[in-house]
């Protein structure tokens, strides 16, 4: 078994070898390296055709029209384009936006930016299970609400939102509905025609494609209009200028083609492995589950190990590549804002670990990980004054902490 074991597939996935093989044909002088916008020669035409094939592979995966796919550099850019682009285009209609406090930073920071330039944003806190209810959204709707942005699967906890109901509500009220589906596309079967979604962000590197390429789905009927965020040569129907990175697009297309083929089986495997992991650790004292094993993502398991601090646990589990939350926030010392929004106590948020599994995870990997977790917890709890207090019957909630 190769060590360390990669259990951070929510941060990124390795590129599938089949995808790499395909991409290599689109770089060098012997390959298809042309600019897909060049209309005057064969090099350009070939590149354009490759982009078209990839576009149809991508639209096949989510079951949309190929004209509804806009290429971006990834889900962060897609979220920016969707939120800022729609808010600015529909400014005359209204300036109120609804989102949730457990969204990805690229959604939250796009909203913060809009607040700076005069928009009003409502951040809904989920219930303790991480779910945003329809009622919560309904209560916050105003006459001038133009956009609701709610993610599908949460990147830290794997909790899935009811985007079907939220979509129906937005459709009825004629409000644009944006979904950040970065953690779902390629991981769970997804047919967009079943939902009332106007804009949807997703990314290639979460589904065994290359980094630096992603898509924004922009609904055609009824058509959603956006103000572009990157100006230039008018690529991607004027919504996102910039020469198309043909090799990356081809890679994303191939990743989607493979995903379409294996997604059902892979999904079952993910659920099996995730449950194997949870069952292996759930009987440890003072372990709390922050994910939803029934309705949540098949590939994410978020757990709090009480009385042990997350970073030290990660250090101790050095044979596992894991994280305490999203990769985008792991450089800050703050406990996860997602878990805190769900009402989880600071100390449990400080003690949380996200395990995310994927295509190349094996049963052996999981069994090995379970063994390591047991050993590390034993060691760190022996070191923990909180554990000592807990075991001697002290109620830590009643302790007055001497903190400067």
């Amino acid at each position: 078994m190769k060590l360390p074991i990669y259990l951070d597939y929510s941060a990124t996935t390795p590129v599938d070898p089949l995808v790499v093989k395909k991409m290599l044909k689109f770089l060098t002088i012997d390959g298809i390296f042309g600019n897909s916008a060049s209309r005057s020669h064969k090099f350009g035409w070939e590149a354009e055709e490759a982009v078209n094939i990839a576009r149809s592979q991508i639209s096949n995966l989510i079951n949309c029209d190929i004209r509804e796919i806009i290429f971006t550099s990834g889900a962060t850019e897609s979220n920016n384009l969707a939120i800022k682009g729609s808010a600015i285009f529909y400014k005359k209609k209204g300036s109120h936006i609804i989102t949730s406090s457990t969204e990805h930073k690229s959604v939250l920071d796009s909203c913060r930016y809009l607040e700076e330039i005069g928009y009003k944003v409502t951040y809904i806190k989920p219930k303790s299970n991480g779910i945003i209810s329809i009622k919560q959204i309904q209560k916050k709707l105003k006459k001038n609400t133009i956009l609701v942005s709610i993610m599908h699967i949460n990147n830290e906890t794997g909790v899935a939102q009811n985007i079907k109901k939220i979509g129906n509500l937005c459709f009825k009220k004629k409000i644009i509905f944006h979904v950040d589906a970065t953690q779902s596309i390629g991981k769970v079967p997804f047919n967009i025609s079943k939902y009332k979604i106007d804009l949807m962000s997703f990314s290639s590197h979460k589904m065994y494609g290359p980094k630096g390429i992603g898509c924004l789905y922009v609904k055609r009927k009824p058509r959603v209009r956006l103000s572009c965020q990157i100006h230039g040569g008018g690529h991607e129907r004027g919504l996102r200028s910039g020469t198309l990175p043909v090799h990356q697009i081809v890679g994303m297309g191939e990743a989607c083609r493979i995903a379409k083929k294996v997604i059902k089986k892979e999904n079952e495997k993910m659920i099996y492995l995730r449950n194997l992991l949870w069952n292996g650790i759930k009987n440890i004292e003072e372990v709390y589950l922050n994910s939803d094993l029934v309705k949540g993502a098949p590939h994410i398991l978020n757990v709090s190990f009480n009385y042990v601090e997350g970073e030290s646990l990660i250090m101790s589990l050095k044979e596992l590549a894991i994280s305490s939350g999203s990769a985008c926030t792991s450089s800050s010392l703050e406990p996860s804002y997602v878990l805190k929004s769900m009402g989880i106590k600071d100390e449990l948020a400080h003690s949380s670990i996200r395990f995310s599994i994927g295509r190349f995870t094996t049963e052996k990997n999981i069994n090995y990980a379970v063994k390591l977790i047991h050993n590390s917890l034993k060691k760190l709890r022996h070191l923990s004054p909180l554990w000592e207090m807990f075991k001697s019957g002290v109620n830590l909630d009643n302790v007055i902490w001497n903190h400067k």
């Binding site: 030290s312 250090m315 600071d346 909180l386 000592e388």
Partner: protein, 128 residues
């Protein structure tokens, strides 16, 4: 976060982990930090009649550098008089462990811990 070899060494082989009897007059105990902040350090010193710290132990809940800082301070205080131990500065801990800037907090916590342990010992022995 990349840690220095010294932090990793103290983290993997923490020195003087344990607990002394809290009620003994020879023992000074400190408990600093808070669970909600992600760091709690318990430091204990055993002081002999000459006022020399003859033993020390710790338990720490926190990140790798919090564990390393407290492990290091137990080594530093052993054999020192109370007055000498009181002079230990967080900067020397941070320097010795080569802590990254965001982790300086952990060395401050260790400095607080040693001062509080000494204060606790003095308080106990004043009453007699």
């Amino acid at each position: 976060m990349s840690y220095s070899k010294k932090v990793l060494d103290h983290y993997e082989n923490p020195r003087n982990v344990g607990s002394f009897k809290k009620n003994s007059a020879k023992i000074g105990t400190a408990m600093v930090g808070a669970p909600s902040c992600g760091d709690v350090m318990k430091l204990q010193i055993k002081v002999n009649k000459k006022g020399i710290i003859e033993d020390a132990c710790f338990k720490t809940y926190g990140c790798g550098s919090a564990i390393a800082s407290s492990s290091l301070i137990t080594e530093l205080v052993k054999g020192k008089s109370l007055t000498e131990a009181e002079k230990i500065k967080n900067t020397s801990i941070a320097k010795e462990l080569d802590l990254p800037p965001v982790k300086i907090h952990c060395s401050i916590l260790a400095e607080d811990a040693i001062r509080e342990a000494i204060a606790n010992y003095k308080q106990k022995n004043k009453k007699k």
